[in-house]
C-alpha cells in the first residue's frame, strides 16, 4: 500500500521566530519551521497502517521554499519512506487556490492508494486545500477522520468521521483523500535509528515547469486573495492557574466565570 501524506512546514510556535515581509505576508524562507501538527497526526496513522500491512510506502508531498528538506527530515525520521518537494521561486505568495492546483498537479505524478492530510494548518487554518485537492483530482474526500480502515483487497476504505455530536461511518472506494486531527493518535518521537536512517532517504524536488504550470498563474500575481494586514497576536494578560483538588478547583472556576458574567 502506498500512502501520500501532504505535509506543510509551518512557523515553529515554540521558537517565536516568525518573520513578516514588508507587505504583511509570512517570510517562510526565513522563519524557523516545523511540520504542521495535524499533518504529524495523519503521518502517524499512515505509518501505523504501513507497519500493520507489513509493506508499502509513505510518501511526503510538500510545497515549500527550498529550505524545506530540513523540516521534512523529522517526518522522514519518524519513518516516512521518501519525500517529494515542490519548490519554485514563482510559488511564493500563492493563495489557497494556487496551492491546491499545484499540489493536485504534483499528486497526479505519483502512484498511491490513499492520500492523507491534516484537517488544517496552524498558520493559515483555512482548511480548504485538502478538499480542493480532492476536487481537482476527482478523489473521494473523507474529513475529520478518527479512524481509518483500508481494505486493500476490496479497494475500499472505511473512516469514522467526527461530527458535532458523535461520529458517522463513511466508506469510499480507493484511492481516496482523508483528512484528520489529533483524534488519530499521538505522533511518535523519532528513534535514533530513524533519525540516522533519514539521512539517506531521498527527497525529490519538482519545479512548476516539471508540473506544467505557468508561473504567472500562481504566486503573488496569480493570487485571488490579498493580505491586507497582519500582526502578531497581543500578549495574553496574566493567567490565573487553579491547582486545587478537582471539586474545589471546579467551584473556583465557576465562581470566576460567574463573576465575569460569562455564565
Amino acid at each position: 500500500m502506498r500512502i501520500v501524506v501532504l505535509t506543510k512546514p509551518v512557523p515553529d510556535p515554540a521558537s517565536g521566530g516568525e518573520r513578516l515581509l514588508p507587505d504583511g505576508r509570512l517570510d517562510r524562507a526565513n522563519s524557523p519551521a516545523v511540520v504542521n501538527g495535524n499533518d504529524e497526526y495523519v503521518l502517524e496513522k499512515a505509518l501505523k497502517l504501513i507497519e500493520a500491512a507489513g509493506e508499502g510506502e509513505v510518501i511526503l508531498l510538500t510545497m515549500a521554499p527550498e529550505s524545506a528538506p530540513e523540516t521534512m527530515r523529522k517526518a522522514l525520521a519518524m519513518g516516512a519512506t521518501r519525500g517529494v518537494l515542490v519548490t519554485d521561486p514563482a510559488i511564493a505568495g500563492s493563495d489557497a487556490v494556487a496551492t491546491t492546483r499545484i499540489l493536485a498537479a504534483a499528486l497526479k505524478t505519483l502512484d498511491f492508494d490513499l492520500v492523507f492530510a491534516g484537517v488544517d494548518t496552524s498558520d493559515g487554518t483555512a482548511g480548504v486545500v485538502a478538499p480542493g485537492v480532492a476536487a481537482l483530482t476527482g478523489l473521494p474526500y473523507l474529513s475529520y477522520a478518527a479512524s481509518v480502515d483500508p481494505d486493500e483487497a476490496a479497494r475500499k476504505v472505511r473512516v469514522k468521521r467526527i461530527t458535532a455530536d458523535g461520529y458517522e461511518v463513511l466508506e469510499a472506494p480507493m484511492p481516496a483523500l482523508i483528512s484528520g486531527t489529533q483524534a488519530l493518535g499521538e505522533p511518535r518521537y523519532p528513534s535514533l535509528k530513524g533519525i540516522m536512517a533519514a539521512r539517506s532517504k531521498e527527497i525529490t524536488t519538482m519545479s512548476l515547469t516539471d508540473l506544467g504550470i505557468d508561473g504567472t498563474s500562481v504566486g503573488l500575481d496569480g493570487a485571488t486573495t490579498k493580505v491586507v494586514d497582519s500582526r502578531p497576536p497581543e500578549a495574553r494578560g496574566a493567567t490565573k492557574v487553579v491547582r486545587d483538588a478537582p471539586d474545589e478547583a471546579a467551584r473556583q472556576i465557576v465562581a470566576l466565570l460567574a463573576e465575569r458574567r460569562i455564565i
Binding site: E70, R73, G83, P190, L192, I195, M196, R199, E202, T205
Partner: protein, 394 residues
C-alpha cells in the same frame, strides 16, 4: 526533476542542524524519563547498572559509534557526544557506558581490518557486548609508553603477561583492547602493539575493582594477564603500531569525556537554578540575591563556553583537521575544569542541602572530578596543546 538526499552538512556553523537537535532531544527525553530516576541509586550501590546498558542497547544508543555496514548507526563524533552529554546530564555513570564503548572500539575503527570489524562490531553495536580500553598500568599512567605488559610471539599466537590498572568497565567488558610491549628494544614509541582479548580467556583475571569517589556505578578494574594466549588474528594494525593507535584513539575519544563533563555541568546548573528559584530566605528567592544570581550566571556561561568548544572540536576532528590532538585536548581541558567549578558552585548555591544526598549536586561534584583525571590529566592536556603550539625542539 532532481534528486537530493537529506544528508546534513557536517559543519553547521553555529547552530545544530535539525537532525542533531532531534537526536539530542530523543536522548534527552530518554535520560529524563528513564535514567535520571536511577542515578542516585546507581551511585549509592556502586553496582554496574545492567538495566541502563540494556536501555542504551534497546534504543540503539550504543550503535551510534559503529558503521552502518557492521550493524551500527554511523554516527559521527558530534552525534555520539550529544548523546553522551544528555545521558551524563542525568547520570555520569550511564553516559560513560557509551563513552567507553566508543573509546574501546576506536582502536578497531582506526586500525582494524574489515574482517576484524565484522567480527566484533555487530556485537558491540547491538549492545550485547561491551568493550574496554586497557592502556594504563600501575607504573605507567601519564607516561603510558613506559608500559611493562608484554606480548611475545609464539607460533600463530601471542602470549601476554602483565597487568593493567584503572580500566573503565574492565570487569564487565566482553572484549578488552590491551596494549602490550612486543619489542622492548625498539624506540619508545614503537614498543607497543594492540590486541583484542576476548573475555573469558585462560590467563585473564580481574584482580581488583576500585572503590571510587565518583562514577561509582562504572566498575574501574585492575586486570591481570598470565600466559594469556591471543591469536595473531586479534592484533590490531602492525607490530609496533600500538602507541600510535592509542594516541589516535585518545584524539577522538577525549571529546566523549568533554561531553560527559558538559552534561554533568548542565545537570548541576539545572539543579542549582531550580533550587535558587524555589528556596526563599529573607522573604525572597535566593536566586534574586545578586551574589547567588551571579554564581548561576557564571555557571551557565562556563557550561555553554565548554559546550561550544566541544561541538566545534567534534566537527574539526571529523573533518580531519591536522590539529585534532589540540582540539581534543582543549575541549577536555575546558569542559573538565568547567564541570568541576560548576558542580562545586552548585553545592554552594544549595548550601547545606548541597552537601547531603537528598539533592544530586554532591554526586555531580564527585562525578565531575574524574573528568579532570582520566583519558589524560588536565596537565597532560596542557602538554599536548603546548606541544602543538611550540612544535618539536631541534
Amino acid at each position: 526533476m532532481r534528486a537530493v538526499t537529506t544528508a546534513s552538512r557536517a559543519q553547521g556553523p553555529f547552530r545544530l542542524t535539525d537532525e542533531h537537535q532531534m537526536l539530542r532531544d530523543a536522548v534527552r527525553v530518554l535520560a529524563d524519563d528513564r535514567v535520571a530516576p536511577r542515578a542516585a541509586e546507581i551511585d549509592k550501590t556502586g553496582e554496574f547498572p545492567e538495566d541502563m546498558r540494556r536501555l542504551l542497547a534497546d534504543h540503539d544508543i550504543l550503535a551510534l559509534p559503529f558503521p552502518t555496514e557492521h550493524g551500527g548507526l554511523g554516527g559521527e563524533l558530534l552525534s555520539i557526544c550529544l548523546a553522551v552529554e544528555q545521558l551524563s546530564r542525568a547520570c555520569a555513570t550511564t553516559g560513560l557506558i557509551l563513552a567507553v564503548q566508543e573509546l574501546g572500539s576506536l582502536p578497531i575503527t582506526l586500525a582494524g581490518t574489515d574482517e576484524q570489524k565484522e567480527r566484533w562490531f555487530p556485537g558491540l553495536a547491538s549492545g550485547e557486548q561491551l568493550i574496554a580500553f586497557a592502556l594504563t598500568e600501575p607504573e605507567a599512567g601519564s607516561d603510558a609508553a613506559a608500559a611493562r605488559t608484554t606480548a611475545k610471539r609464539d607460533g600463530d599466537d601471542y602470549v601476554i603477561d602483565g597487568s593493567k590498572r584503572f580500566i573503565s568497565q574492565g570487569s564487565v567488558a566482553d572484549l578488552v583492547v590491551v596494549f602490550a610491549v612486543t619489542d622492548p628494544e625498539a624506540p619508545r614509541h614503537q614498543r607497543l602493539s594492540a590486541f583484542v582479548v576476548e573475555v573469558p580467556s585462560d590467563g585473564f583475571a580481574v584482580t581488583r575493582v576500585e572503590h571510587k569517589m565518583g562514577i561509582r556505578g562504572s566498575p574501574t578494574a585492575e586486570l591481570a594477564f598470565t600466559d594469556l594466549r591471543v591469536p595473531a588474528a586479534n592484533r590490531l594494525g602492525e607490530e609496533g603500531e600500538g602507541w600510535s593507535i592509542a594516541m589516535r584513539t585518545l584524539d577522538r575519544s577525549r571529546p566523549g569525556i568533554a561531553a560527559q563533563a558538559v552534561g554533568i555541568a548542565q545537570g548541576a546548573l539545572e539543579a542549582a537554578t531550580a533550587y535558587a528559584r524555589d528556596r526563599k530566605q529573607f522573604g525572597q528567592r535566593i536566586g534574586d540575591f545578586q551574589l547567588v544570581g551571579g554564581m548561576l550566571a557564571d555557571m551557565d556561561a562556563q557550561t555553554e563556553a565548554a559546550r561550544q568548544l566541544l561541538y566545534k572540536a567534534c566537527v574539526e576532528i571529523d573533518a580531519g583537521a591536522p590539529d585534532a590532538s589540540r582540539w581534543s585536548a582543549m575541549c577536555k581541558l575546558v569542559a573538565g575544569d568547567a564541570a568541576m567549578r560548576v558542580t562545586t558552585d552548585a553545592v554552594q548555591v544549595l548550601g547545606g542541602y548541597g552537601y547531603i544526598d537528598e539533592f544530586p549536586v554532591e554526586r555531580m561534584m564527585r562525578d565531575a572530578k574524574i573528568t579532570q583525571l582520566y583519558e589524560g590529566t588536565q596537565q597532560i592536556q596542557r602538554l599536548v596543546i603546548a606541544r602543538t603550539l611550540l612544535g618539536k625542539a631541534d
